[in-house]
Point group: C2
Chain length 479, copies 2
């Protein structure tokens, strides 16, 4: 037990300092590391394996709904970025500029893509001629760069990995349907794979994407009560299509501008995983995304037959699950227990001489700490049940946490009172004015996260100005 | 037949102008397109699907041999690039420099990675302490940038996609074993999936990677007789480890520098596919890498039941193969045949009213043009045999082309004579001097591609100086 305590002690308690707890987990669990380039991180193999699992499942869902992958250039000429006015105003302050190739100064500066609407639109205007070319549904998995002042691994870094879908449609209706279809894919994926319950809704005019007509978002509550914007899907109308001349001939032979969408999720989701599920022992990974679902730890390895039996079991389970065996001689079982708990592995199987005699092994759950003894012959099927139960339990915990930390406010005093004493989300009515939105930001320090699709009846008076309000909104502090 | 001819006519004959034939195929088959950024291309969905298949199979082989994926930053500070002298001399002339973030000038310029030895080595020096941390076997799939003067889609572009593996080892022997293991993975993959036979060998001192102790290569012959360097694997010894202070404590408790390797293949392989297998009808894709392995074309679609039956067949075959059905109403079968031939799909299945009556369909091979009629009930199994046969036939054709265009030379006159009249590879003895290597380059316009592992006895006199020579080399013009 002493090594166990010693080991966990290195992670700051989340109640003491949530931000330090977060970076402790990121670094101790070897998810990511800092580099010599300000704001740029290395995603280490354990963290990248999570991203690979995210990619695999999302990519499957994108392809299932008719999207294809492609790859567009990293560099965007300054003149191209400048074509859509709101877009350039939103992004120019935070882009990295390439000015030299080798020893020569470039004639025109190139920005490292912060997002790729401009270059997609340029190519689409070449590729699209007729209604037969629509819808055009392309996604790319890529790195993007936004020159951030304050950075944090996974949550906000100068370079990050993401996917960006860019689609063109013949009608407004179809484009809007696509925008919402993708939002649902994101939300379903987060609940079914990351065990993170999402609030789906629309961003306010102030918070929408630079150049979009409407931005839709999925918002999650982290363990400290703050909101994480976890994915966005944008409806562009014909704005970019007009700026970039993306036209098609409709079935009646008439030229029209296309209707456009774009949407993305990023490695930020890994930050969301950490902050939704983690605890003071470290990471806690939902089973369907965990790089290692089952860790087999042999006990009393020096005893004859133990290592062989444990290895046999691990090999057998590998046919169905992501399994590793920890046969390192230089560490005690207690040390290993701690390390794999810290790395968030959902199930630990302990197997020692007496277990082998009885044809059993001990199964320990990361989420509850529960230990059960099971027949080795039952392990193959039983693990599936336990993994599903862990997933459901983690999703429910996250949901309960959000419910317990969501409060209603009907006026500014109530709103201020919430954030003086607590963290979390506030539900309140809002009149829709930018003025009230900014006043709330200024006086309470929170922002409107979204106008949720699921509205509740909280009266019809704006929490800020008291005037008529049609919409209930979620507010909170954000990452 | 008239539309067929009209269609193919748009591709330049390779005998007339190989370079134009190449770009015609790239653009007509929608593999890639040019962009507004000089030297940067868009990889379009059909081209990217080939890359995804390459990635999937190589990634499987890397993981099977113990490698893990990670992601390292895009930007490398100038001071880091400067740490290894030969390396910076090799790469500095062709890197893109970021000088500004938003509106602020950076304190230190950042180069956009041309390759990542420097940043991997920096992190490895933090992560590696003891022999227990070795070997460290990490790969990344990433974009890199090299500011090229003359560019061509897939073959040489300012930005390209690749994988780069970077490994650290406790001994020279182990590192060299890794270097060659990867070369074999590359070579096996190219033969087994791309149907391209490779010559494996070592690069001369002049041609090796900047900073490496030894570079190993796989070289392929293209249809025009030129060589394509298709993948390289480098042995670094302790050079970078010393420059970046990557040390470990060995089992005896003594500090030592690590032994290092790196290795990569890129989207260039797609260029290799095109130029090895293509013909005047367009692309010809090896079955195991083709995004569409079987295209089903219904004939006389307006006749009752044809489309349904064709769709049923396509759905059934999809359980085992990558299949699409071309049910476009606005194009004739002849047009479709041409288009899918141009896109290189290995098998076309034609299915019309009479075929349906007889329970048959017509199978047409892209490689030979052979047509056979098969029972629809046999298609599910038969296609596997045909795809394998196509693969073997394409590999053999490429091999025969290489054999037929490889010539022996024992002196400079013979060597010059070869390249006055023919293209292809020359096999010759070489004394190993840089002087002869440069003279051959200057006088014949060819370079030493590699010192192949499979040596042949061609005497012991250098083709250039006539002095004693131990090594047979392959020479040729290169892409």
């Amino acid at each position: 037990m002493s090594s166990e305590k010693g080991f966990v002690k290195e992670i700051t308690n989340m109640e003491d300092d949530f931000a330090t707890w977060y970076t402790d987990v990121v670094r101790k669990a070897e998810l990511a590391d800092y580099t010599d380039v300000k704001g740029c991180m290395v995603i280490r193999p354990y963290g990248y394996a999570i991203w690979e699992n995210i990619q695999k499942e999302l990519d499957r869902r994108f392809k299932e709904t008719g999207h294809k992958n492609a790859y567009f250039p990293l560099f965007i000429p300054e003149s191209l970025l400048n074509k859509e006015k709101e877009h350039v105003e939103g992004f120019a302050p935070e882009v990295a500029w390439v000015t030299h190739g080798g020893s020569e100064k470039l004639e025109e500066r190139l920005c490292v893509r912060p997002t790729s609407e401009t270059i997609f639109s340029t190519m689409y205007s070449k590729w699209i001629q007729s209604w037969r070319d629509l819808p055009l549904l392309i996604n790319q998995w890529a790195n993007v760069v936004r020159w951030e002042k304050t950075t944090r691994p996974f949550l906000r870094s100068s370079e990050f990995l993401w996917q960006e879908g860019h689609t063109m449609h013949a009608t407004e209706e179809e484009a809007m349907k696509e925008t919402l279809k993708i939002l649902n894919i994101y939300s379903d994926f987060c609940e079914e794979f990351l065990a993170i319950p999402m609030i789906k809704g629309r961003k306010s005019e102030k918070e929408k994407f630079a150049g979009a007509e409407a931005t839709f978002t999925i918002e999650a509550m982290m363990h400290d009560g703050k909101a994480l914007q976890s994915g966005t899907s944008h409806y562009f109308g014909q704005g970019f299509a007009k700026a970039f001349d993306v036209k098609f001939q409709n079935k009646e032979g008439k030229e029209e501008y296309c209707y456009q969408t774009s949407w993305g999720v990023s490695t930020r989701l890994i930050g969301g995983l950490i902050m939704t599920h983690g605890d003071n022992r470290g990471l806690k990974l939902p089973p369907r995304i965990a790089p290692v679902q089952v860790i087999v730890v042999p006990i009393a390895m020096h005893k004859e037959g133990v290592l062989e039996k444990a290895a046999d079991l691990a090999e057998f389970l590998k046919k169905r699950y992501r399994v590793e065996i920890d046969a390192r001689e230089e560490y005690s079982p207690g040390y290993k227990f701690n390390e794999w708990e810290m790395k968030g592995v959902p199930i630990r199987l302990e197997i020692g001489p007496r277990d082998i005699e009885n044809g059993e092994c001990v199964l320990v759950r990361r989420d509850t700490g529960d230990k059960i003894t099971i027949k080795m012959t039952d392990a193959y099927d039983e693990i599936e049940n336990v993994l599903n139960d862990i997933h459901n339990n983690m999703l429910l915990s996250a949901f309960n946490n959000r419910q317990a930390n969501t409060f209603m406010a009907s006026n500014m005093d109530e709103l201020k009172n919430i954030y003086e004493n607590k963290q979390g989300f506030a539900k309140a009515m809002w009149c829709g004015s930018r003025e009230c939105e900014e006043k709330i930001k200024e006086e309470v320090g929170i922002s409107i996260r979204c106008i949720p699709f699921e509205q509740e009846n909280l009266g019809d008076k704006c929490v800020c100005c008291g005037n008529h309000a049609d919409n209930m909104v979620y507010m909170g502090k954000q990452y």
